[in-house]
Amino acid sequence: MKTVIKTSNLEKVYNGSVAPVRAVNNVNLEFQEGEFTAIVGPSGSGKTTFLNLIGGLDKPTGGQVIIDGTDIASLKESQLFDFRLKHIGFVFQSYNLIPVLTAKENVSFIMLLQKQSKDAMEKRAKEMLEQVGLSDKLNSRPNQLSGGQQQRVAVARALASKPKFVLADEPTANLDTESAFNLLDIMSRLNKEENITLIFSTHDQRVIERASRVITLVDGEVSKDEMFDR
């Protein structure tokens, strides 16, 4: 299997008011193509910080994040924007759709930034919304959709540009049970069908039970790294 992400001695230290806070400490991990990984741990264990570091949203204070042979920590900000746009999909806890755009436009948004053709965007957006079961909501604005539907649009948006991997920060935290299961079904299916690498940070047992790999962080360090045959 191909390694998609590799971290070496990854470290993030924040300057706290009393003493420096070591949010991520000496993390060495590799993520393989097609893996469905859940990063778990108590609040403040460094899950979101770790996701931000491997997603290029934040710069590490030490170590490396190597994606496709590139140490993204060494990239300039403008290069990082392009890198994220090309290689990484994001799903956030609070859906975070663009309120003024329709579901189809939200899904097309990243492809628009990638300067894909209008026809290709249109086709892929419809296809992705169909895959997440929202083919009848193409022209609905976020405020016309339920929380679960908005999160499914967010997943379609993250996957539409065919990124190397998708980072999801507690994507089920705001969903009811039915919507959460629905979303997980969709993501599991896409993970298998499109061989997309998924990395979730989560507290949610329902996510953990679907993941093929569960990494536990405690105080910014990897305390457990378990593989499951699912």
Binding site: L57, E77, S78, R84, F90, N96, I98, V100, L113
Partner: protein, 402 residues
């Protein structure tokens, strides 16, 4: 996307557009009033005293005596006729100080020989008549001011004795029947003016064909300077001089400039207050959208693209506000332009004392709307730098978590 963002929160956009609009409206009203009042004062000065241009003897302005009266020859008239396209009409005057008497009473007087028709065209002299009639050029009677008539106990048909200094040492003396009485609001005029037909006055001053002031009224006040330059090139500067009203009334010009400076300070205070109003709205708007900005940057929108969206929003809001401000400002100012505000008792009397109608005039000159609109627009654009700067400094992970 920027356009849709504007209408996402209509109330927020309405508040922002309103801030810009009110700034533009207030600035337009203020500057329209300043410009209108200046025009009113200038018109008063020009019409009641100097005219737009005056040709005088080269020494008259420094020493305004009858000895420095210029000779108004047919050649001079022909020269002026070559500029007929710029000249509306010409008002000839010969004037000098003298004494006005009746029986035992004597008062100082300004004796002015005029063409009554031209004078009326310039300053409505005829409309000030309260008794009798204005003279024709061939008449031989005097028209005197009401205050002087009262002081000397003169009524229509009485004789007034005038004494003064004639041309080149001649004694000016004459008696004239009072054929008309005019009234002025300014006491200095009402207690001193004696008008004679031009020919009669030239005879009285022993200065036939001479004038102390040759007033030129232009079709377009803006052309006065240009006409002054042209005439200057065609007259002998050793004998003649041309002055614009600004050169003849430097104190008035300085007073206007001082007043304009005060109003400009007021306008800038207004701009600053309005600017802070707009700035407050922009800060609130930014604060509300920080998370959204963090997300947009996270998923791949570049800072420059996001900054461009913010700038487009600011530009569109500013343009809408300025356009609305110009329309509303124009409607308000146009109403006051057509129906000038009548000034109340005390301030109205002050205006009347200076021979100015007691109305607050407004101007609808296009440049007022243009400059105020542009100033407010650029202030709004300047404020628009704040969101752009904020976008470039935004910590996207922190913003996305808000």
């Amino acid at each position: 996307m920027a356009w849709r963002n504007l209408w996402r929160k209509k109330r927020r956009t309405f508040i922002s557009v309103s801030s810009v609009m009110f700034a533009a409206v207030l600035a337009i009203i203020l500057m329209s009033m300043v410009s209108g009042m200046t025009d009113q004062f200038v018109a008063s000065i020009v019409n009641n005293t100097t005219g737009y241009l005056q040709i005088q003897d080269a020494l008259y302005n420094d020493e305004p005596t009858i000895d420095h009266a210029l000779e108004y020859t047919p050649e001079k008239e022909a020269m002026l006729n070559t500029h007929a396209d710029m000249i509306d009409y010409i008002v000839p005057r010969i004037q000098g100080f003298g004494l006005a008497s009746r029986d035992m009473g004597t008062r100082g007087a300004m004796i002015m020989g005029v063409d009554a028709e031209m004078e009326t065209r310039m300053n409505n002299l005829g409309s000030r008549l309260i008794e009798g009639s204005m003279f024709e050029p061939s008449d031989e009677f005097a028209v005197i001011a009401e205050g002087l008539a009262h002081q000397l106990g003169l009524t229509l048909g009485d004789t007034i004795v005038l004494l003064g200094q004639g041309f080149q040492g001649m004694t000016a003396a004459g008696t004239f029947k009072v054929g008309g009485i005019v009234q002025f609001s300014l006491p200095e005029q009402n207690n001193a003016m004696v008008y004679l037909p031009l020919k009669q006055a030239q005879g009285f001053f022993a200065a036939p064909d001479r004038l102390t002031n040759l007033i030129i009224m232009t079709h377009n006040p803006q052309e006065a300077d240009e006409l002054s330059r042209k005439i200057q090139q065609e007259i002998d500067p050793e004998w003649y001089a041309v002055y614009t009203w600004e050169e003849l009334m430097p104190d008035a010009v300085a007073a206007f400039e001082a007043r304009d400076a005060q109003f400009k300070v007021m306008a800038w205070i207004l701009y600053i207050v309005a600017g802070f109003g707009i700035f407050g709205t922009v800060i609130t708007m930014m604060h509300e959208r920080l998370r959204e900005f963090g997300i947009l940057l996270s998923i791949g929108l570049k800072r420059a693209q996001l900054a461009l969206i913010c700038m487009i929003e600011t530009v569109v809001m500013s343009l809408l506000g300025v356009a609305a401000g110009v329309i509303v400002g124009f409607l308000i100012v146009y109403n006051w332009y057509r129906n000038p505000i009548h000034l109340g008792a005390e301030i109205g009397e002050v205006f009347l004392d200076f021979g100015i109608e007691p109305y607050m005039s407004f101007s609808i000159a296009p440049d007022i709307f243009f400059y105020q609109a542009m100033t407010v627009f650029f202030i709004a654009l300047f404020i628009g730098i704040y969101p752009v700067r904020k976008v470039f400094k935004l910590n996207m992970t922190r913003a996305a978590r808000k």
